[in-house]
């Protein structure tokens, strides 16, 4: 067992996977010699050579499109999009091709690709280095979407994603790369070395897709979160003293609705968190599902705390980010409701 940052865990997942299956290839912008702008692929080219890990031209449609062709051949590409904000030029290939080829060909051709991309704000990245586009993947059927919140899960979920026979979008909350983030940007940074989920086996293991984790059991209210917001949820629970059950969704599609339903039916209250813009965000789907399945158990309106419906601003980043204060306020309101 080693202590790893999330970056190291992601690296390790790819390293181990490539060692087990030589159909796995890694490519993307700057991922080869340099090892990626966040260094998540460092060492892979050195170990497995430039045929297995190489730099791509700056063309996201090309990256996904080529990966689809490779998957049709039988490879298992794991590609990096440098920031989730830059997946849009590849969105046609992702949502209309990768997601549809099994269906179109009655299972004859398949698209076992993993598309890794850093997501979320918190690093003063402005509107094009901070986005959380998970809802755009959830809405178009045929894609799985995974968002880890800690190094242990990151490695296990990435290994599972690479092994999965369907296209998987693997969103990496960049604010969590180096340490858990309690939502207070003005407090000292903590590192994964001091966090239990920073303990990561060096060998192969998987964390199954489609299963949520109960990060904090609680009785009074259920908080649904993923990625960075899991940590904000924990902070808010602690700060408000409200006994919240924090569910880390981990995979948003397929979703572990069973765990959610069980919890909300018990607590009768629910708060949903995400960093993405509110309108039509994944929170809307979660709220709908909870409303549909738990209506008669609800003691208060379900609440959402999300990014505002504006671009992610640069200087006002912390006014945009749905931090512990806003989450705490929502918790209190839901408790009163």
């Amino acid at each position: 067992m080693a202590r790893m940052t999330m970056i190291e865990a992601i690296r390790s997942a790819q390293h181990v996977a490539m060692g087990r299956d030589d159909n796995i290839v890694v490519f993307g912008e700057d991922v080869g010699y340099f090892g990626g702008v966040f260094r998540c692929t460092q060492g892979l080219q050195e170990t497995y050579g430039p045929s297995r890990c190489f730099d791509s031209p700056i063309n996201e449609s090309g990256i996904i499109g080529a990966a689809i062709g490779m998957a049709a051949y039988g490879l298992r590409p794991c590609v990096e999009i440098q920031f989730a904000d830059y997946m849009y030029p590849g969105y046609d290939q992702l949502s209309q091709e990768a997601a549809r080829i099994r269906y179109r060909s009655d299972g004859d051709f398949t698209t076992q690709i993993t598309v890794r991309m850093p997501t979320g704000g918190g690093i003063y990245g402005g509107q094009t280095h901070s986005q959380s586009p998970e809802a755009l993947f959830a809405h178009v059927c045929g894609l799985k979407t995974v968002i880890p919140s800690n190094p242990y899960d990151a490695k296990g979920l990435l290994a599972a994603s690479i092994e999965d026979d369907d296209p998987v979008i693997f969103l990496e909350p960049k604010r969590l790369y180096n340490g858990p983030f309690d939502g207070h940007h003005d407090r000292p940074i903590t590192s994964w070395a001091k966090h239990s989920m920073g303990e990561v086996p060096e060998d192969y293991y998987t964390v199954p897709l489609g299963k949520a984790a109960i990060t904090r059991p609680g009785d009074e209210v259920t908080i649904l979160a993923y990625g960075t917001m899991v940590h904000v949820a924990l902070t808010a629970a602690e700060e408000t003293g409200i006994d919240a059950e924090v569910i880390d969704l981990r995979t948003i599609l397929p979703l572990d609705l069973e765990t959610i339903e069980t919890s909300v039916k018990r607590t009768g209250r629910c708060v949903i968190l995400h960093e993405a813009t509110k309108t039509c965000g994944f929170g809307a789907e979660l709220m709908s599902l909870v409303q549909e399945t738990c209506f008669y158990h609800l003691e208060a309106p379900i609440a959402r705390v999300t990014g505002w419906d504006t671009p992610y601003p640069h200087a006002q980043e912390w006014d945009y980010f749905p931090g512990p204060k806003r989450v705490g306020a929502a918790l209190k309101k839901v408790m009163e409701g």
Binding site: V25, S51, R52, S56, P57, N59, S61, G62, G65, A66, A67, I68, G69, M70, A72, Y73, G74, L75, P89, D92, Q93, Q96, E97, R100, I101, R102, Y103, R104, S105, D106, G107, D108, F109, T110, C141, G142, K144, D165, D166, G210, L253, P254, L255, L257, E258
Partner: protein
């Protein structure tokens, strides 16, 4: 004083009401273009992007460097494949008119391209086609009955009714699932070819795209990736002069030819008479060999003419002269190959008439058989349950729930 700028919009030479006249079109003589070695450097054959490689003379003789690639028997196979494609198109087009399916796309006048190319491929190579390359499938031995079942979306439809009629797919026959979204397949072909190289395989890929679709961005993705990784892929542009109602000049812009697009990527580019079966075969074979030997990608512009409507959804008489097709100077690919074979003594008018009749009868018989499985309008259909399958490998809980809700 600077003069005001003017906005320029290219226009086709002829519109309905005009008398089409292609006498201005410079066509090189058959045999005029030399055949370079397959390992030639792109920069040494730039001229091949600005000419047209032709093998058959008007009289039906095969001349020049590019001649002689096919035996008479092989050419006859090609001729019969083209006849089959045309007969198939005719029947399916008619079936659509009769309401037996929703939609159909012919390749009338373009049969030589896909048929000759497929004949030059080897088993295990993979095409990434558009909706106008039925000739690839029909020449590869894929069962016509299966194609018909799909056109009818009936109970035996190999794609379970999920896809549009003509959007075939077959891994076994080297035919990648057709997409409705133009050009996406071009870069996918390059990715497949890269994979083949990564694995040290000997198989090559072929991408297909229409003249209009070269304007799409994935044309660029494909060119960039093919160029950078020297992928073993043949990139085919079928320039049939039209993109629905839009003439090729809108996509081509100020370039002299589509083939010229290759030059900016150091990819060798050849232009070929797409209605000359022998020329298409020879050029395809050259490019395929080049790819397989590790010399990298080739761009081929097949010059042809879309003799029919774009699809069953449009009437070309609204946007181009009715006679344009007849006036188009490259002639009919079937007629041309027939003339060649007759001239060589390998074929005759009588055998041709007989072959056409036989093939048509075969197609009609298969059609009857297919219709026993139903058509879109009547009879058996794929189960609605199929709608929920293959979205994912295993149906996840939310889809199982929806399937239940649908009562299926």
């Amino acid at each position: 004083m600077t003069k005001p700028l003017k906005f320029y919009v290219p226009e086709p030479e002829f519109r309905p009401g005009d008398q089409p006249d292609f006498s201005g079109l410079k066509l090189p003589e058959a045999g005029a273009v030399a055949r370079p070695k397959v390992n030639v450097k792109a920069e040494n054959i730039r001229d091949l992007a600005y000419t047209i490689i032709r093998v058959m003379t008007r009289e039906g003789e095969a001349v020049g460097d590019w001649a002689g690639a096919l035996s008479d028997d092989e050419a006859l196979v090609g001729l019969k494949n083209m006849i089959k494609v045309r007969a198939y198109d005719k029947r399916m087009q008619m079936a659509q008119r009769q309401g037996k399916t929703s939609f159909y796309v012919q390749c009338l006048g373009e049969e030589a391209i896909a048929c000759a190319f497929q004949q030059a491929l080897e088993k295990g190579d993979m095409n990434f086609p558009t909706y106008r390359q039925q000739g690839l499938l029909l020449s590869s031995g894929y069962p016509v009955l299966d194609m018909m079942n799909q056109v009818y979306s009936n109970s035996e439809d190999p794609l379970r009714g999920r896809q549009l009629p003509i959007m075939y797919s077959s891994k076994e026959y080297g035919f990648f699932s057709i997409s409705g979204n133009l050009a996406t397949q071009f870069i996918q072909a390059v990715g497949w070819a890269m994979a083949s190289a990564i694995k040290g395989d000997t198989k090559i890929a072929a991408g297909w795209i229409g003249d209009g679709s070269t304007a799409e961005s994935d044309f660029h993705s494909a060119m960039v990736f093919a160029s950078t990784y020297r992928a073993p892929v043949v990139l085919n542009i079928v320039n049939n002069q039209w993109a629905i109602s839009t003439f090729q000049g809108i996509a081509r812009g100020g370039a002299a030819t589509f083939a010229a697009r290759g030059h900016g990527f150091g990819i060798p580019a050849l232009r070929v008479d797409g209605n000359d079966f022998l020329a298409v075969y020879a050029v395809s074979k050259w490019a395929i060999e080049r790819a397989r030997k590790g010399y990298g990608p080739t761009l081929i512009e097949h010059v042809t003419y879309r003799a029919g409507a774009h699809s069953t959804s449009d009437d070309p008489a609204v946007y181009r002269p009715r006679k344009e097709s007849e006036e188009w100077p490259l002639g009919d690919p079937i007629e041309r190959l027939k003339t060649y074979l007759i001239k060589k003594g390998a074929w005759s008018e009588e055998r041709h008439t007989q072959a056409e009749a036989e093939i048509e009868a075969e197609i009609v018989a298969l059609q009857k058989e297919a219709e026993k499985n139903g058509t879109l309008a009547s009879g058996q259909k794929p189960s609605p349950r199929e709608m929920f399958e293959d979205v994912f490998k295993e149906t996840p809980p939310h889809l199982r729930k929806q399937r239940q809700e649908a009562g299926l």
